[in-house]
């Protein structure tokens, strides 16, 4: 078969909602897009542990500390599921991690913002994990089988993340004035970056159309963002807090909330590496990687020694 015929057959399979599996024929660009998207997603899970790691030793009590640790451990697992899914496409995890450590690969910009107070653990769980869930639920139907299965597994674990975050804010919102202020301040700082998590507007999203056609992506950036806004407002009302957007208003005609203009200059700036914590995050990753090198080597030598003994 010619490449054209193969591509046509491939698209027919996609249109029929068939899942593509690792050993199936696929266009080179489909493979490339998936490797980029899945590895970026994996990197985001891993770097995403850092802002929260900052608060493990300072959680207000043992219960909160245990919960936070469990949440962070889940994120490490999500990274692993995703690296494994990427590896089915013929890349090696070590190479992907090298790309992260060298700064060549991207991860979600949201993690370049600092977690300044304990309330940030609440806002991150509620808004950042909430936005991630919105995106990941849609990806459970992505056309590449191993990616879709990883997403299903991740989504099962995510709802605990959002609920524990909301629970932190709910507690603060019922606290004293200082705690209420802390709660509102965290929401104010995380709201706009959370909206940016869905990526640039559809009109400026160059790869989106092809990804939607291949059903790698199932729902557009703007639509997911709108769903997130609509879902979050009533949740914010229950907290008795406000969202930092004076233009937020119900639009009867659209059946959705209108909201203000997102600062895409800031988004691009953080993406380019100039966010408040880009440098710190990468350094933390590099340190962990380098300081763990001897453990990885020793474990391998130990396993080889044991194998020789058994043989």
């Amino acid at each position: 078969m010619t490449t054209e015929e193969l591509e046509k057959k491939f698209q027919e399979r996609i249109d029929a909602e068939e899942k593509i599996e690792a050993k199936d024929w696929m266009p080179a660009d489909y493979r490339k897009t998936l490797i980029r998207q899945i590895s970026q997603h994996a990197h985001s899970e891993v770097v995403g542990m850092l802002p929260e790691g900052n608060w493990v030793t300072r959680a207000p009590n043992l219960k909160r500390k245990a919960i936070l640790l469990a949440k962070i451990q889940d994120e490490a697992g999500h990274g692993l599921y995703l690296y494994s899914a990427a590896e089915t496409l013929g890349v090696e995890r070590t190479d992907l991690i090298d790309d992260l450590n060298s700064g060549k690969a991207k991860y979600s910009s949201i993690f370049n913002y600092p977690a300044l107070t304990w309330a940030d653990m609440g806002a991150v769980g509620w808004l950042v994990d909430g936005a991630a869930i919105m995106n990941q639920v849609a990806l459970c139907r992505t056309s590449y089988g191993p990616y879709a299965r990883a997403m299903v597994r991740i989504c099962k674990e995510e709802s605990f993340h959002q609920r524990q975050g909301y629970d932190i804010l709910l507690t603060l919102s019922k606290g004293n004035d200082a705690q209420k202020r802390m709660c509102q301040d965290a929401i104010n700082r995380w709201w706009w970056p959370s909206l940016m998590m869905f990526g640039p507007p559809d009109a400026n999203s160059p790869h989106s159309a092809q990804s939607l056609k291949w059903k790698i992506k199932r729902v557009s950036n703007d639509e997911l963002r709108q769903r997130f806004v609509d879902m979050t407002i009533p949740q914010c009302n229950i907290l008795g807090m406000t969202l930092p957007d004076p233009k937020l208003v119900w639009n009867q005609d659209r059946g959705h909330h209108d909201f203000g203009e997102i600062d895409w200059v800031e988004f691009n700036n953080v993406l380019k590496g100039n966010g408040p914590c880009n440098k710190e995050r990468l350094e933390a990753r590099l340190n962990a990687h380098n300081e763990g090198a001897w453990v990885r080597e020793a474990a391998m030598v130990h396993a080889e020694k044991r194998a020789r003994k058994i043989a």
Binding site: E21, K23, D24, W25, A70, Q73, D74, G77, L80, Y81, S84, E87, E92, R93, T94, R149, A150, R153, E157, A293, R296, E297, A299, M300, H302, A303, R306, A307
Partner: protein, 93 residues
């Protein structure tokens, strides 16, 4: 340093059920693969037993040969009970 070997992980979710493929992970050997699989795939009581096997030891059928392998079953519908049109009086067969 290159990757540790890749292992495929199978979990039995409950006694009485089959082990099911859940994903893969890297480990230095099978023992570590089981320990890591415990941490990654059974943190919420998802399993009562774990199998691990090094990925390179699995032989998979070739998707290109799927037709040759699986199509011959398609025209043998008489292998299904619904193929047989039997009288209504005949209950429970």
């Amino acid at each position: 340093m290159k990757n540790w070997p890749l292992f495929e992980i199978f979990i039995r979710s409950k006694n009485g059920l089959d082990h099911r493929h859940v994903g893969s992970l890297h480990a230095t050997d099978a023992k570590m693969a089981i320990e890591n699989a415990r941490d990654v795939y059974t943190r919420r009581m998802e399993g009562v037993s774990i199998w691990v096997v090094e990925s390179k030891l699995i032989t998979a059928s070739d998707p290109g040969e799927a037709e040759a392998l699986f199509e011959p079953a398609e025209d043998k519908i008489y292998r299904h009970p619904t193929f047989y049109d039997l009288p209504d009086e005949l209950k429970h067969m």
